[in-house]
């Protein structure tokens, strides 16, 4: 949503975008009140001084120097002030805007009152960031890790070895379920990582409280199951079946049959928008608002059967992978894709987006794995896998899991090709892997394959410190109910789904092209290329021709405008001393 605002409002918006939402950011401002402890210390010092008979000279020596540093006996107090110093490199992690932008605009500002307000706001923002950094001390857990001995690669370390090495509670997180009848299995964890949903293609659906290994329910839908997804709470789950999509509750009781979502192949749930996105065999992408049960949008992709899908958690945009090697990015507000990327020369098998929403990994049938930067849609690296990856998934810490047949490879990071050539962990399953998903807030990777399910230990995969207001693995029933109500109140309307989620806080800005008067704009001419035979009217060729025409027009226009400017400058009489004139 773009909003046109006054100058004043724009400055406010620009600076305020950095103030985090209360549940989402604003840390408690913990101010250490030194009064009590220092007063006790001072009293005891005085008492000592009285006993030893010294006059209270020391008091006179204690002086506050200019910047509030307490100097006692000529030595500065190492713990001055109530705030601990904050390392600068950590500030970057919590800041939401580019630092240079706000500061420079304030310097030139003439309105003093507004300037003061904005400076005050900037101070508040920077204080909030500092306090967020200081609050890191309160984080209790440390992330996991795995290091091999000298000469030992971590990829050679087996799951059994890890499970034997770690504590009992952690070793129990590695387990296998042998479900030979109804596979291959689709896997889904809840957002807090507490519950696991398994969907076997031959109808078997099981909901498990996996840390305690308690089976919540298990049933057979007597139809093929293409995908399973938890909805906003662990009492509701969506199952994409042969014809329709169904919603069941925890006990396996059918709540709804969604006939508007038919022949669904993949499901994605957008938790903040309460949208269930479904792609189907006819190449349609549909969005269903599960809070009101209404289909809000459905678009044909025109790119054929659609069984590769993932969502970008940063902006709730759905990524679809197509048999043409194209990845399309969708929002429910546009009937055409927001972005269309030609990622591979062959059919796509898997797409995954990391938790920060900046990196996308794609895998195609030609065994290639590509990593993309979603900020500029550039390819960060290409790598050839041992076989085509059937599925990819990113962990919260940026690890990438790839399912290569029955072989599982986990890469520690995918920012460089070197990291991709050396897997962090590997695992061999009984049968070909259908689906992998990292469990949030745990060092666990769930792997669904043709003959069951394996829970693998991947040290360092999960975010160590969860935020209980966002996703709480130790949620009680009352907390879950409260969360459901609150998240429904905070339900973001689907209209706000866009590539840049902070757009709602920004001001609509005209481009340079729009700002020009109409006479100076580059004219846009509609050009429809003629049909040519012998394959010269392929889409790529046609596009190239259109591009060429537009480019020629642009060049001509610029040349014309330049020559007219030159003519103007020549017309001016030049004096000998003009060369010394300041430009």
């Amino acid at each position: 949503m773009e909003v046109k605002k006054s100058k004043k409002a724009r400055y406010f918006a620009a600076s305020e975008s950095a103030i985090p939402a209360s549940s989402a950011g604003a840390p408690l401002v913990v101010e250490v009140e030194p009064s009590l402890s220092t007063s006790i210390i001072e009293k005891s010092k005085k008492r000592e001084a009285r006993r030893s008979g010294q006059p209270q000279k020391q008091k006179r020596l204690d002086k506050r120097q200019g910047d509030g540093v307490l100097v006692a006996r000529g030595r500065p107090d190492p713990f001055s002030g109530s705030h601990a110093p904050v390392p600068k490199e950590k500030l970057h992690k919590y800041s939401r805007e580019k630092p240079s932008k706000g500061a420079s605009s304030l310097v030139r500002m003439k309105d003093k009152a507004l300037k003061n307000t904005l400076q005050l706001r900037q101070k508040k923002v920077s204080l909030a960031i500092q306090e967020a950094v200081r609050a890191e001390h309160l984080n209790t857990e440390d992330a996991g890790f795995l290091e091999g001995d000298v000469g030992e690669d971590t990829e050679d370390i087996t799951q059994q070895a890890i499970a034997e090495f770690v504590d009992v509670a952690s070793s129990q997180k590695h387990f296998e379920l042998s479900l030979t009848q109804f596979g291959p299995y689709r896997v889904n964890y809840t957002r807090n990582g507490r519950f696991l949903l398994l969907g076997g293609e031959r109808g078997h659906v099981a909901a498990i409280d996996w840390p305690t290994k308690r089976l919540l329910s298990e049933f057979n839908v007597m139809e093929s199951v293409h995908d399973v997804k938890w909805l906003h709470v662990e009492t509701m789950l969506a199952v994409a079946q042969k014809q329709w999509t169904y919603i069941y509750d925890q006990q396996g009781i059918e709540l709804h049959c969604l006939k508007t979502l038919d022949r669904t192949l993949r499901l994605e749930f957008l938790p903040y928008h309460f949208l269930l996105a479904a792609s189907n065999a006819a190449g349609f992408l549909s969005y269903l608002d599960i809070s009101v049960g209404k289909k809000i949008a459905a678009f044909p992709t025109h790119l054929g059967r659609c069984d590769v899908m993932c969502q970008n958690p940063r902006n709730a945009v759905v990524h679809l992978g197509h048999p043409t090697g194209v990845v399309t990015l969708w929002s429910p507000n546009d009937s055409r894709p927001l972005v269309k990327m030609l990622c591979h020369g062959s059919a796509l098998r898997a797409v995954a987006v990391d938790s920060r929403g900046t990196t996308m990994a794609t895998a195609a049938v030609d065994r290639s794995l590509k990593v993309w930067d979603l900020r500029n849609y550039g390819c960060l690296g290409e790598f050839r896998l041992a076989s085509a990856a059937a599925h990819l998934d990113f962990s919260q810490t940026g690890m990438l899991a790839a399912a290569l047949g029955s072989y599982l490879e986990v890469f520690k990071s995918c920012s460089t090709v070197a990291e991709l050539s050396q897997p962090y962990l590997t695992h061999r399953c009984w049968d070909s892997i259908a689906n992998v998903q990292f469990c949030p807030f745990e060092d666990v990777l769930g792997v669904g394959h043709a003959k069951g399910f394996v829970s693998c230990l991947v040290p360092g995969a999960g975010e160590a410190n969860f935020d209980a207001l966002e996703a709480n693995p130790y949620e009680s029933r009352s907390q879950r109910r409260q969360r459901e109500v609150k998240s429904l109140l905070d339900k973001i309307p689907a209209e706000l789904i866009a590539l840049e989620p902070s757009q709602v806080n920004s001001v609509q800005q005209t481009t340079e092209e729009q700002a020009r008067p109409p006479s100076q704009r580059i004219p846009k001419v509609e050009f429809e290329p003629r049909f040519k035979k012998k394959g010269k009217s392929k889409a790529s060729h046609e596009q190239a021709r259109i591009q060429a025409v537009h480019e020629r027009q642009r060049r001509e226009f610029v040349q014309q405008s330049l020559s007219s400017k030159k003519g103007e400058s020549k017309a001016r009489p030049t004096a000998v001393l003009d060369r010394f004139r300041r430009q």
């Binding site: 909003v3 549940s23 989402a24 919590y94 939401r96 795995l146 070895a161 920060r356 040290p459 410190n465």
Partner: protein, 443 residues
């Protein structure tokens, strides 16, 4: 091999007993909190909607007068006491907290034109159409004496009465502005500027020597009691009905005008108003400052009370009821929480100063939530959807249409001026509206 796998001990995350509160570990890493901006926007939208849902400003109507209420004043030191004078000569002392009449006395024959209270002397004063200025004893509990402590003749018609902030001087408006001392039966001083009568008199609550009055010749006259002559006079386009001083900034005063507007002036620069507060659709009869000096309330013949911010041109809220008739007096309570209005149909009404504010004592969490929603509303105030909801007020049909008509008239005049300027010889742009308010400023 060195390995560590995340292994949380559940005891650290569950509460110890059922009576404990739940443990809420936080992590402020922005990556764990996606979609901050849209979520915050939705919260701001909900907060705005809830604010409108809970906006129930009317608290109660105080009944007890037997004729239209004509004037009102609040007790200088008691929050709950309000003195009012009616058109049948009755003066009533109200307790707002008890919502009842504390004492009543028939003070005058004909209208009571003004009432005021001197805290230091424990006296209440009233002046009426019978050309008498009466003093009434007033106890701490708010009991008025049944008989006047003393009665002075005003030697002419009185239209207004006010008492200085220290309670030692009185001023009456009439043919001239008269200055009285409570101890003396004769006026101390007489301030005259022109021949017209003065319809409103107000002492500054900060500078005890300053008096402002509205004269019938469309002027607002400022007098310093220490000077021989009135200080300044500013003539507006239409007559002013009421004047009041800012309680925090001694140089700011607001004037309720017959041309439907309230004007706020800086005393040091009277050639142009600080601000024009528009929105009433009939003559404004009364005006009062909030104790913070940042806001104004005004009552009008259009049967509404409007609340203005001092720095904004349009009202932030409008209060009306089906039964409320033309407003005669408005007061802003000294604790900044209530607005009191008196109107022609014999009732005094008590309103909340901020319509959605809860009146009860708040728990810490409630207050936190309210503050959070207030800051959200402020942050997203300029978003079109939020602004639309926040600005929407239901007003009676007559007022709605009158506003539209006034808007049309105003726009047409603006356009006319613009056209005239465009086709004139010197192509001078029309003056801004503020420059056209003051006709004359006399020293």
């Amino acid at each position: 091999m060195r390995v560590k796998v995340l292994s949380r001990s559940p005891e650290e995350y569950f509460r110890a007993t059922k009576r404990d509160i739940h443990r809420i570990p936080r992590n402020f890493n922005p990556d764990l909190h996606p979609l901050e901006a849209p979520r915050e926007y939705v919260r701001a939208l909900n907060a705005t909607k809830l604010e409108r849902v809970f906006a129930k400003p009317f608290i109660r109507s105080l009944e007890g007068h037997r004729d239209a209420v004509h004037c009102m004043c609040r007790h200088p030191s008691s929050l709950s006491l309000v003195l009012s004078g009616a058109c049948d000569g009755e003066v009533v002392l109200w307790s707002l907290s008890g919502k009842k009449v504390v004492s009543r006395v028939t003070a005058h024959q004909g209208f009571v034109r003004g009432v005021c209270i001197s805290d230091s002397l424990s006296l209440a004063f009233s002046a009426g159409d019978d050309q008498l200025l009466k003093q009434w004893s007033l106890t701490k509990d708010g009991v008025l004496g049944t008989e006047p402590a003393s009665v002075y003749s005003t030697q002419g018609p009185v239209t207004a009465l006010d008492c200085s902030c220290d309670g030692t001087h009185l001023a009456t408006g009439g043919d001239t502005v008269l200055l009285w001392s409570p101890e003396r039966s004769e006026p101390l001083r007489r301030f005259e500027w022109g021949n017209d009568s003065h319809s409103a008199v107000k002492f500054s609550p900060v500078e005890r020597h300053l008096v402002a009055s509205c004269s019938g010749d469309r002027g607002v006259v400022l007098c310093d009691l220490r000077g021989a002559q009135p200080l300044k006079k500013v003539v507006l386009r239409m007559r002013s009905n009421a004047v009041c001083w800012s309680p925090t900034e001694a140089f700011i005063l607001a004037v309720a005008n017959d041309d439907y507007n309230v004007y706020s002036f800086d005393m040091r620069r009277l050639d142009m108003p600080l601000n024009i507060h528009k929105d009433h659709v009939a003559a404004v009869t009364c005006v009062d400052f909030s104790p913070t000096g940042r806001e104004l309330c005004s009552g009008s013949v259009d049967k509404t009370v409007r609340l203005f911010s001092l720095v904004e041109g349009h009202s932030r809220d409008v209060y009306h009821t089906k039964r409320m008739q033309r407003l005669t007096a408005v007061l802003w309570s000294a604790d900044d929480r209530y607005v009191i209005s008196a109107s022609d149909e014999m009732n005094i009404r008590l309103w909340k100063a901020r319509a959605a504010e809860p009146l009860s004592i708040l728990r810490w969490r409630q207050r936190e939530a309210l503050e959070y929603s207030a800051s959200l509303r402020a942050k997203y105030a300029s978003h079109p959807e939020i602004r639309r909801i926040a600005r929407h007020r239901h007003v009676p049909k007559s007022i709605y249409h009158a506003r539209q008509e006034l808007h049309t008239v105003h726009e047409a005049a603006k356009k006319r001026e613009k056209n005239r300027a465009a086709h004139s010889k010197d192509k001078k742009a029309p003056l801004p509206e503020k420059d056209n308010v003051v006709l004359e400023e006399c020293e």
